[in-house]
């Protein structure tokens, strides 16, 4: 224990140092959520499609990505992200480490969200789809105006939980060198030899954020997700 180092945590310069890390954590989370929602929605619809050439690749994508550790995806993008995107963005393209982390996180989370969205859509009573079609709405329109809004509303609590998971997973991006919260902590404790104090401090920050989110979710009476959706999230809870 290094109780003599507690004074560091009220030093404004050190707090700013951690603040920068926390900012990166939050930015990573927001970017990953946005990206994975968009991609996940696409694949959810792909899986539900009646056309086989859409359904099978979507299913293959979702099921294999879900089954992989998110850290593996992050490490891979950290090492090879830029080379992958060269064909699109041209020779000499460099992928900032931040985005490598976002892509790794988003790739994984998109598969989970795809499943959550799909479970949400499937848990709606069939009557909804039938009624929409009976009223003359096309497949795409009935999705857009009837099915999705209800499914997404069902999913909100699960999405909040997923947000918590993403915030925790940003810690994994420390391993590819992004200066988020955990990495800033490592830099500090390797210079001052006070890992206990640093980890307690960082742990407390994560706790406040994540616990706060789940309490907010409860207070806003967003309700519990249907069982099908909860089970999906359970299989894929990452670190």
């Amino acid at each position: 224990m290094r109780p003599d180092t507690w004074h560091l945590f009220v030093d404004p310069a050190i707090l700013r140092f951690f603040g920068e890390g926390l900012l990166q954590t939050l930015l990573l989370s927001v970017a990953a959520v946005g990206l994975s929602f968009a991609v996940g929605l696409l694949f959810a619809l792909g899986r539900l499609s009646t056309r086989r050439w859409l359904r099978w690749p979507s299913t293959a994508y979702v099921e294999s990505i879900r089954a992989l550790p998110v850290l593996l995806l992050i490490v891979y993008f950290g090492i090879k992200g830029s080379s992958l995107l060269r064909p699109v963005f041209g020779e000499g393209f460099e992928l900032p480490r931040f985005w490598a982390g976002v892509f790794g996180l988003a790739l994984y989370t998109s598969a989970i969200l795809a499943e959550i969205i799909r479970a949400g859509i499937l848990s709606l009573p069939r009557g909804q789809t039938e009624a929409a079609r009976a009223l003359g709405l096309s497949h795409a329109r009935s999705l857009r105006y009837v099915i999705l809004p209800q499914a997404l509303r069902l999913m909100v609590p699960a999405m909040m939980a997923q947000l918590t998971t993403i915030i925790k997973d940003t810690s994994l991006v420390a391993t590819i060198g992004v200066a988020e919260l955990v990495r800033q902590g490592r830099i500090l404790y390797t210079q001052f030899f006070n890992p206990i104090e640093v980890f307690l401090f960082i742990g407390a920050i994560y706790f406040v954020i994540c616990f706060g989110l789940s309490q907010a979710s409860r207070r806003l009476e967003l309700g519990r997700a249907p069982k099908a959706i909860r089970d999906v999230a359970l299989r894929d809870l990452a670190a």
């Binding site: 224990m1 850290l71 090879k80 925790k168 810690s171 206990i196 742990g203 994540c210 299989r235």
Partner: protein
Amino acid sequence: MPGGIVLEFPELYLFPSGLWITVQLAILSLLGSLVLGTLVAIFRVAPARPLRWIGGAYVEIFRNTPLLVQLFFLYFATPYIGIYLGTRETFAFNAALLGLALYHAAYVAEVVRGGLLGIDKGQIEAARSLGLSYLQALRYIQLPQTFRSVIPPLGNVSIALVKNTSLAATIGVADLLYAGEIVESRTFRAEEAFVAVALLYLVLTVPLGIGVNWLERRLQVAR
């Protein structure tokens, strides 16, 4: 040249040994988290409020902090408070084992608690009126029934656990992901190294997933 990696590099022995370490880590920490998690769940439904509070605190603390931070703490910080989790050879593995077990126990606890609460209160009252103590009622009436309804979600938790064993690589456990990283650093062939690692993880998780899906269908609990 893509396939060439198989013949050229001696580091490839790391893959099977890494896979074995991952399997060991998964099985042992799963057992640990099941036992610990059930214990915490019992706390959470106990009649005494202090016990309920302790159980609740455990679940919230371990679920709302990243597993990585918990592992780093166990690996780097514990010696500073005099706790040595093993000899030099076993320290990293034990720290990873403990960390994984503690973390997933929180999720197991929630699942088991959900199962316990789902049991018809009438059964508990009947048991108590027949003279069974609180603990006996727990053991002979509640837990066996919880078992059935709880297996599929626990199956899901165990799939997540298998994937989370990859975090052990960050504290130096020579698991599957670690093997991939070392092979990549020696051969500079990221695609081949990590595709191999990914395939091996799929070998572990996909059958588990199919198994859990099958269990879910067979154990359809009528509510």
